[in-house]
């Protein structure tokens, strides 16, 4: 009881404690009352008027200071601000240039990607060309093979030609031999005819004559058919 009273009395003597007590007791009431006031349109208009008055006063003061500075040939705040504004404008231009550089950079990156794509396509075309090249080499090899085969055929044809020539020679040889035989046969024939003539002459001299048909003469060469008849037999020989 005594402590409580002492505390209360000490608070009464403590200005800060009193201030706090007063605040706590009145805060909510005052806040509500002030809230009602400041939320009203009337307060807004009054505040606006007050602000206008302050601004008008400031303008008068500013004009006064500006006039004095102008009279002293000193730069005013507006003059300094204008310089600052110019710097800001310059900075903006630098920023715009930077923007364009970034855009260009992005576009270059895009172009680079396109170039890489085109490069890939070129590599693809190169691969296809290499493929075609390989196929051409294959075709070339095939042509060479065909050439070799043709050369082989040619050799065989040449061989056949040689063999034909050989055959021809043999045929000629055979012809010559036939001719020789023919000549011999003619010789034999002539000899036979002579002997027949001699025999006839002998028979005429010794008896009745025997009629022997005359043998036709054989051509020297050529493909002829001749019939040689010998006394007592007949033979037919066909040559080509």
């Amino acid at each position: 009881m005594t402590e409580s009273r002492t505390s209360q009395e000490s608070t009464q003597l403590d200005p800060f404690g009193l201030w706090r007590q007063m605040y706590e007791a009145n805060e909510q009431v005052w806040t509500r009352a002030m809230k009602d006031v400041i939320s009203s349109q009337g307060f807004a208009e009054a505040q606006g008027k007050m602000l206008e008055t302050i601004l008008a006063y400031q303008k008068v003061m500013r004009d006064l200071v500006t006039a004095q500075l102008n009279a002293l040939n000193m730069p005013t705040r507006d003059d300094v601000s204008r310089v600052g504004e110019l710097i800001t404008v310059l900075e903006e231009k630098v920023d715009q240039l930077e923007d364009r550089l970034v855009d260009l950079d992005n576009r270059m990156a895009g172009v680079g990607e396109q170039v890489v794509g085109v490069g890939g396509q070129i590599v693809g075309l190169g691969d296809r060309l290499a493929g075609l090249d390989n196929r051409m080499v294959g075709l070339g090899n095939q042509v060479v093979g065909l050439g070799d085969r043709l050369a082989g055929l040619d050799s065989r044809v040449a061989g056949l030609g040689d063999r034909i020539v050989g055959l021809d020679s043999r045929v000629v040889g055979l012809g010559d031999r036939l001719l020789g035989m023919d000549t011999r046969i003619i010789g034999l024939d002539e000899r036979l005819a002579r002997r027949t003539h001699i025999a006839d002459q002998d028979s005429q001299a010794h008896g009745a004559p025997e009629v022997v048909p005359a043998r036709p003469s054989r051509p020297a060469a050529g493909r002829t058919q001749s019939a040689v008849e010998s006394p007592g037999s007949s033979r037919t020989e066909k040559t080509e």
Partner: protein, 361 residues
């Protein structure tokens, strides 16, 4: 009076003196915490700048081991705050968590705009800045990225995904990203056409100071966001487990808003808040119509139920607009910032997001 003071006199004077001394010491600590918050280091995860444009920088976080997931995570941050919210403190960093889970992480920080950026509109951000950053991250990682946008960064990420189906984006993740501004809460009321002097603002301010936007955010809940911050700090200073460095990091982040280029702010208020063009499909960027139905990427939409900056109706619409067949939503209890970096995020949101990312690697 004497009778009333008698019990007081009966009590020892020392407890009272102790209480006063303790209170004074805590007040001193509070002052110290607030005044030195600006020096608290935030965004400490090692990283390198891999691209920069104007004031914006694209960071790649350094890994000590190779990533185990193929798809890197690209973090598109809000325009109105420092980008460090997802890398606030070691142990409380979503970036650190993603790295530990094996992801390659990129973060796009819009930087601190100056008066010379007065004519930088949403169109410029959607054509000259964010898409280029995504492309550079993709080139650096050599893979399409998961585009993860937080708050306005999420809205712009959705626009990018719709505008550039050919962009190197594999998945889309949105953290509390407003899409439909029909019921945009108090911001919607304050920026009503006629009441909000947007033309005068455009004419007078080359860049909208971070403080002005910060005031607007704090006005959403003035008492809690101003006095309440210090009351809660006061209370927690008595807790021996209180991590004052984390509080300071968050305090610093909340109070160090970044300026919003005048033209972009004008576009944001008129085209998004006042005319609600994005959801209507009438938003045009560099002559091209932004159609959310052109989004076909796998989508994870993370929303906060008690979000006063991007109220629930503004974040709920995206699932019905996209053509993605693979779409999922995580609706968490908490506020716009709380679900993403609060103490519960490490055990709540982060593992679930990582699980989704792993399934969509």
């Amino acid at each position: 009076m004497v009778g009333a003071s008698a019990p007081f006199l009966e009590a020892s004077m020392f407890p009272l003196a102790d209480a006063m001394w303790s209170s004074t010491a805590r007040a001193r600590d509070m002052m110290w915490a607030v005044l030195t918050a600006k020096e608290t280091p935030i965004g400490q995860t090692p990283k390198e700048v891999i691209w920069r444009k104007n004031k914006s920088r694209l960071f790649r976080y350094l890994r000590t081991s190779p990533a185990t997931h193929r798809t890197p995570v690209f973090l598109a941050m809000p325009l109105i705050n420092r980008a460090d919210i997802l890398d606030l403190r070691p142990g409380g960093s979503f970036v650190e968590f993603l790295l530990e889970e094996g992801f390659d992480v990129f973060m796009y920080d819009w930087g601190h705009w100056g008066p010379e950026d007065r004519n930088l509109g949403i169109s410029e951000l959607l054509t000259k800045y964010l898409p280029r950053a995504v492309r550079h991250a993709s080139i650096a990682a050599d893979h399409d990225v998961t585009l993860l946008g937080y708050c306005i960064g999420g809205t712009l990420s959705a626009c990018i995904a719709a505008l550039y189906p050919e962009a190197p984006i594999k998945n889309l993740v949105l953290f509390t990203a407003p899409i439909d501004f029909e019921s945009a809460g108090d911001f919607g009321v304050w920026t009503t056409k006629g009441a909000f002097p947007i033309d005068k603002i455009r004419e007078s301010l080359p860049v909208i100071p971070g403080d002005l936007i910060d005031i607007g955010s704090k006005m959403l809940n003035p008492l809690v966001n101003t006095t309440g911050t210090y009351v809660r700090l006061w209370e927690r200073l008595g807790d021996p487990n209180f991590d004052i460095k984390s509080w300071q990091a968050m305090y610093r982040w909340v109070n160090e808003g970044t300026p919003f280029p005048g033209a972009a702010y004008y576009d944001w208020i008129t085209r998004f808040y006042q005319e609600n063009r994005l959801i209507k499909g009438t938003l045009e960027v560099a002559g091209r119509r932004v159609r959310l139905s052109d989004i076909r990427l796998p989508l994870l939409n993370v929303a906060a139920a008690a979000d006063s900056i991007a109220p629930r109706p503004t974040t709920a619409a995206i699932l019905g607009c996209v053509s993605s067949t693979d779409k999922e939503e995580l609706l968490l209890q908490g506020g716009h910032v709380g679900i993403v970096v609060g103490r519960s995020a490490r055990n709540g949101l982060w593992p679930r997001v990582v699980d989704w990312l792993a399934r969509h690697d």
